[in-house]
């Protein structure tokens, strides 16, 4: 999906978050070629443009990471799509759902891969990272990671790296109900990716993404081992816990529903980090 050659644009690069994470992504090896800001002055030697169209025209950037507020995110996505960006990562939390629906219509029409919102980002360890996945949890290796939860994926990645197991590609799909990329859409990518020998799925109660993933794994006869960790087994019905997507109504989206679906697709499902880490370490 990305390599160290991928030319990356940072939208909102002059803000506090954009500036800090541009520095950290660059230190990791990400090739940041441009930024955008209403105040277009260079940041750490990176040229900054007034908008995406100007940045893409001048630098040939194909990927963008947008560090903008939730109220500005739909506009930032539109701007990136119109400028010809093909991979878009949006860490912003709190995007209104109706804005996300509008953004999805835009990216689908243009054939853009959108990861987010509410994502810690994605990485191909050893190549590049887009967003703020912490280095302590990243290492090149055989595990494909897809996660709805930032911090829980950090915990799992960190413990697996301590066991000598790194990642082929790590994609944080984010915790929002309507999002650019859902688990199920990533199945063909991980099936085809020769470096991926196993898949680790970090999920949580609420929504139907784990169930959709189970359907895609079965339909596409995904042949690599799948290990899933699902948080929220002991949560009360009807209470949102942080992630807008993590709410259970009746049996839909419950822990048991997700376990049944994923196990039916051949995955192993865990309710504790240590159990998953041991099983992955034993299998690889």
């Amino acid at each position: 999906m990305i390599t160290r050659a991928t030319k990356v644009l940072v939208q909102g690069i002059t803000g506090r978050t954009g500036r800090m994470h541009s520095r950290m992504m660059r230190a990791y090896g990400t090739r940041i070629v441009a930024g955008t800001s209403p105040r277009p002055e260079p940041v750490d030697g990176i040229p900054v443009f007034k908008d995406c169209a100007a940045a893409v025209a001048a630098t040939g950037a194909t990927a963008s990471v947008a560090f903008v507020g939730a109220d500005a995110l739909l506009g930032a996505i539109r701007e990136a799509v119109e400028a010809g960006i093909t991979l878009l990562v949006t860490p912003t939390e709190g995007m209104p759902v109706h804005d996300a629906l509008a953004a999805l219509a835009l990216v689908r029409a243009a054939g853009v891969r959108w990861i987010g919102a509410s994502t810690p980002g994605m990485a191909v360890p050893g190549e590049a990272k887009l967003g703020f996945l912490p280095e302590v949890a990243l290492a090149p290796g055989p595990i494909g990671v897809m996660s709805k939860s930032g911090t829980l994926s950090y915990e799992v990645g960190y413990r697996l790296v301590q066991r000598g197991l790194g990642q082929s590609t790590w994609i944080g799909v984010g915790g929002d109900p309507v999002k650019g990329t859902r688990y199920a859409e990533l199945v063909p990518y991980f099936a085809a990716d020769a470096r991926t020998r196993a898949l680790v799925v970090i999920g949580e109660i609420g929504g139907s993404e784990e169930e959709e993933l189970a359907g895609a794994l079965s339909a596409q006869r995904f042949a690599k081992p799948v290990f899933a960790l699902i948080a929220g087994r002991s949560a009360r019905e009807g209470v949102t816990m942080g992630h807008a997507g993590a709410m259970v109504h009746g049996t839909a989206g419950s822990w048991d529903s997700k376990r049944a679906a994923l196990e039916g697709a051949g995955a192993r499902v865990f309710g504790a980090v240590a159990g998953l880490v041991e099983a992955v370490a034993a299998a690889l």
């Binding site: 703020f132 816990m241 504790a272």
Partner: protein
């Protein structure tokens, strides 16, 4: 008197609606299909989802009115009329669910909502002043939403009798921690996604949290678990000590697990206050 755990605050007495047909109409965000599901039935009651005769179609947000007309074709015209009003409201309120059940249809073809359910998008409330006012006026019913609007982070008491206070960041990891503690027979008191990135060097947020935890009648220990990637742990440790000093009523031991930048600085700061720190979550949990 309570209904499904909610205290009954008032009872509204309405004029008898007379002989009516009970129908059903709902608009529901369908995240898996990038759209809105339109549901209608000419007959039906409370358990409509389990009944035959329910008609449905999923449409893009812009196409919901057309979908309402298609789904409503062949059903009493009052359903299409209600559905179009609902489509406008769904959009205007940025709803995630809007449901009228039962929807009364009178013999003259006019309709009336017997009951209505609206699920709001908390992320859109900043530009929905009427909904925000409605929530504020009924704050006791929506404590989590009120807290998020007021303080900018998530906190839920998950077990009023719990004895372990949690100071955690990240929704998924906090949920997982609660699951794991319970699986070991322990009783966590609260869920918290404090968002260390939003603290900006100010202990206020941590002080609030420690005050709320201190209100738990059985709290005997506090577990701090911060793995936030970029949080400067030295800074966090200082804020934690300031907050702890500001909430002396919480006179219980702290177990602290941290992973991130400047761990050694945090270890020194907390060590000087007599608090041991580990990077290993399993070890921290074993100390509870």
């Amino acid at each position: 008197m309570t209904v499904r755990g909610q205290a009954v605050q008032a009872v509204r007495v309405e004029q008898h609606v007379g002989p009516v047909q009970e129908a059903y109409a709902a608009l529901l965000l369908d995240a898996a299909a990038d759209g809105v599901r339109v549901l209608m039935a000419g007959q039906g009651g409370v358990d409509i989802e389990n009944q035959a005769g329910l008609r449905a179609e999923t449409a893009r947000l812009d196409d919901v009115p057309d979908a309402v007309r298609r789904v409503g074709a062949g059903l009493p015209p009052a359903l299409t009329a209600a559905g179009l009003r609902m489509a406008a409201m769904f959009r205007a309120c940025e709803a995630m669910l809007l449901e009228i059940n039962p929807l009364f249809i009178r013999p003259d073809g006019s309709w009336l909502a017997g009951d209505m359910k609206l699920i709001t998008d908390d992320n859109a409330l900043y530009r929905q002043p009427a909904l925000r006012a409605l929530l504020a006026a009924n704050a006791a019913h929506y404590p989590e939403v009120q807290l998020k609007l007021e303080h900018g982070f998530d906190y839920v008491v998950v077990d009023p009798e719990g004895d372990i206070g949690l100071v955690t960041t990240g929704a998924g990891l906090s949920m997982m921690l609660i699951d794991e503690l319970r699986a070991r027979g322990l009783r966590p008191y609260n869920f918290l996604d404090v968002r260390t990135g939003g603290m900006r060097g100010d202990p206020t947020r941590l002080i609030r949290v420690l005050e709320w935890i201190a209100a738990g009648p059985r709290i005997r220990i506090v577990l701090v678990n911060i793995f936030a990637g970029i949080t400067h742990l030295g800074e966090f440790a200082k804020l934690l000590l300031q907050a702890r000093a500001a909430v002396p009523q919480l006179a219980v031991p702290f177990v602290v697990r941290l992973v991130g930048t400047a761990f050694e600085e945090a270890e020194a700061v907390l060590g000087a206050a007599g608090i041991a720190v580990t990077t290993d979550l399993e070890r921290a949990v074993a100390l509870l």
